[in-house]
């Protein structure tokens, strides 16, 4: 396989852009296992390894459980480590996700979002990463190929920041983003190298002159201190994400914050939504704005840690909000994004009405007309103050 020469502007799929970003990062170790729709990342990266375009040591593990275990071993050894997966693969890693964050290892994982079985389905929804939302990983969501690429580069800095030292998961939508070609702006290799810098672990296992014990057993008298420190570290990461997003903007012209507010300032009604479906919703907003309707979008980029104050602040003046989850929490109160957004809003003295809509499970289409319908409903709620259905599935089945 020959390595494509990509410079500046390039038409790339999400998977290719992530693989290319990984090539530029040139981590010490990568351990990964194939699963649709993230397989392309692993394949393309293997090509870079085979061609000598990177000198990363690539471990072709026999499972995702071992992928994360090997990442943990390599990271504790002091290496800069990356992996990618989807769906069942992330679920299979679940036990090890908590261990990576609990041991404060700055591993970067790309999750190409895909539905969880059963029934088996290879298409996009967020049940995989949302199932891991309490695993202690920082989670960055990406609407586009460009955002996924930019998030990946920033993830390395966030994870390895001395005030953070936690693993980061970069999420992008399976097929919709992973397999669609988008024209994106790439950063040149030297600038990437300079931006990410070198990683020097504080207590690497490979420093045999200064032996350390990782993963000791704790009893009730110390476990909670570890968890408290971890909790404070992930809380601190919020400011680090902002800082690095700003620095990235200064250097490369694309600034990132904790969330994107799209025509939200004067909006009466807002949709809160993650990843690629935000793009579809933007089209609906533009159409409705033309017709004089005051509608907008809040698209969180950072979901863990949840920037709950900033979310409440962003929605402070909105009258009605629909939170669209691409996952159900199966008889919880709406989906996770709804649940947490609504909870964040509770701090406001004057709260908007908030409804939950579940959409797009297992790759079900979400179209501009669906967003328009939700906005119509929201504008009615804004007028009347009455909610007809608090939680609902957007089935969107025409045939």
């Amino acid at each position: 396989m020959t390595t494509p020469a990509i410079k500046g502007q390039a038409g790339l799929t999400g998977n290719s852009a992530i693989a290319y970003g990984m090539k530029q990062i040139n981590p010490d170790v990568c351990a990964a296992y194939p699963i649709t729709p993230s397989t392309g990342i692993v394949e393309e990266f293997s090509g870079y390894v085979a061609d000598g375009a990177v000198d990363t040591e690539f471990i072709t593990v026999e499972s995702e459980h071992s992928a994360m275990s090997a990442c943990i071993g390599a990271s504790a050894a002091g290496a800069r480590v990356m992996t990618a997966t989807s769906s069942q693969g992330l679920a299979y890693m679940w036990e090890m996700l908590y261990i990576a964050s609990g041991m404060r290892l700055p591993i970067v994982l790309t999750d190409v979002n895909r539905a969880l079985s059963a029934p088996i389905n290879i298409h996009c929804d967020h049940s995989d990463s949302m199932g891991a939302r309490d695993a202690g990983w920082i989670q960055l969501y990406s609407e586009t190929v460009q955002e996924a690429y930019d998030n990946l580069l920033q993830a390395v800095r966030i994870a390895e920041h001395k005030d953070v030292m936690l693993p980061v998961m970069v999420c992008l939508d399976g097929f919709i983003t992973s397999h669609a070609i988008e024209n994106i702006t790439l950063i040149n290799d030297a600038d990437v190298k300079e931006f990410i810098g070198e990683y020097q672990a504080a207590h690497p296992l490979l420093d045999t002159d200064n032996p350390v014990t990782y993963g000791a057993m704790t009893l009730p008298d110390t476990y909670m201190e570890f968890k408290h420190q971890q909790s404070k570290a992930i809380a601190r990461s919020k400011d680090v994400v902002s800082e690095i997003g700003k620095e990235f903007g200064k250097k490369f012209g694309r600034e990132y914050g904790l969330m994107e507010k799209y025509k939200l300032d004067d909006a009466d009604a807002a949709i809160v939504i993650l990843n690629s479906a935000a793009g579809t919703t933007k089209v609906a907003v533009d159409e409705l704005r033309k017709a004089g309707k005051k509608v907008g979008i809040l698209k969180p980029r950072l979901f863990r840690p949840l920037p709950y104050r900033e979310i409440a602040d962003a929605l402070r003046n909105v009258k009605s909000v629909a939170v669209l989850d691409r996952v159900d929490s199966m008889n919880g109160f709406g989906g996770p994004l709804f649940n947490e957004t609504r909870s964040a809003l509770y701090e406001l003295e004057k709260r908007p009405k908030v409804i939950s809509r579940i959409f797009g499970l297992g790759g079900r289409d979400y179209k501009v007309k669906d967003a328009v319908q939700v906005f119509d409903e929201l504008l009615k709620i804004a007028d009347t103050g009455k909610v007809e259905s608090l939680t609902k599935y957007i089935m969107n089945k025409e045939s």
């Binding site: 593990v61 499972s63 071992s66 050894a77 014990t213 009893l219």
Partner: protein, 310 residues
């Protein structure tokens, strides 16, 4: 090979003061293996007695870099560490003349059962590491539950000797053969009672280029219902009955390291251990015979392979 005197003079890499039981076979095995490395060692341990008993925060018995991450993944964890080492060497972040050894320790549960996939993967990929399985024949840390390594007939908390079912009804899995089937450069079975044999094997295992494996019988007074002061004797009798054969497979060639002049009957080993008490009752004679027959067949098989490429 180092003499016992020389071994005793070396720095202790695995300190006393840990919380493993009196009579536990694990500490002598670990100490001996670590002393045979003659180089800096980085180790990992699967969840189990060794891990729990040596690293209760803020204490650690390990004077080498050590990590525990989970139960079923010691081989995958060491794969990552060893790979990071190769990456650093390639990139000049570790001096070329520095030679670190990598060892994964796991109990029989973490190795024969839940960790078999990770072990197989790591062996197949050919990482440069030694995997040491301490085989005490059950999940001891969680209270003596049956494993794939539990001997036929043994009573455990999940295979109790009941009125209808007299202990474990399945034969032990032959893990060493499974490992050998991966065509690793070195695999062997050892016992803590024969320190010279075990330390020679550890030295060899740590010298080869590629994965190596040691399966070491590890007496457990708590789970075997045996006397702590008789642990080393129990290991010796396991070998003298040929229940636990001392052999090695080096580059495919099988060598038996010890052949008892007079093979002792298995009942000699069973009667030291409360977990086999029921097998010695007259009505269970057929079970005892079946166990003896299995051991005889396996020993004959091994003898027939002696000196051959297997």
């Amino acid at each position: 090979m180092a003499t016992l005197k020389e071994l005793a003079k070396q720095d202790e890499l695995f300190s006393g003061g840990h919380r493993l039981c009196a009579g536990c076979g694990i500490p002598p095995i670990v100490r001996l293996v670590l002393r045979s490395a003659n180089a800096p060692v980085v180790a990992t341990t699967a969840t189990g007695c060794l891990e729990v008993g040596t690293t209760i925060y803020p204490y650690t018995a390990w004077r080498i870099p050590w990590v525990h991450s989970a139960f079923e993944n010691a081989a995958a964890t060491i794969s990552g560490i060893e790979t990071a080492y190769r990456a650093f060497k390639k990139r000049g972040r570790i001096p070329q003349d520095k030679n670190i050894k990598f060892i994964a320790f796991g109990g029989d549960g973490g190795t024969y059962d839940i960790g078999l996939q990770a072990l197989s993967g790591a062996l197949e990929r050919g990482h440069n590491f030694l995997y040491v399985c301490y085989d005490n024949g059950a999940y001891m840390n969680t209270g003596i539950q049956r494993s794939g390594a539990t001997p036929f007939g043994a009573a455990t908390t999940t295979s109790p000797a009941g009125d209808v079912i007299p202990g474990k009804q399945e034969l032990k899995k032959d893990l060493t053969r499974i490992v050998v089937a991966h065509n690793v450069p070195y695999a062997a079975q050892g016992s803590p009672h024969n320190w010279a044999d075990l330390s020679k094997k550890a030295e060899k295992a740590l010298k080869v280029n590629g994965p190596s494996f040691l399966n070491v019988i590890s007496p457990c007074p708590l789970g075997w219902y045996s006397k702590p002061e008789e642990s080393i004797e129990a290991a010796k009798i396991a070998v003298d009955t040929c229940y636990w054969a001392l052999y090695e497979v080096e580059n495919g060639v099988l060598k038996i390291n010890y052949k008892p002049k007079q093979k002792r009957p298995i009942s000699d080993w069973l009667k030291m251990q409360g977990r086999f008490k029921h097998l010695l009752k007259p009505e269970n004679k057929p079970l005892l015979d079946r166990m003896q027959q299995y051991i005889d067949t396996e020993w004959e098989r091994l003898l027939s392979l002696e000196g051959k490429i297997i």
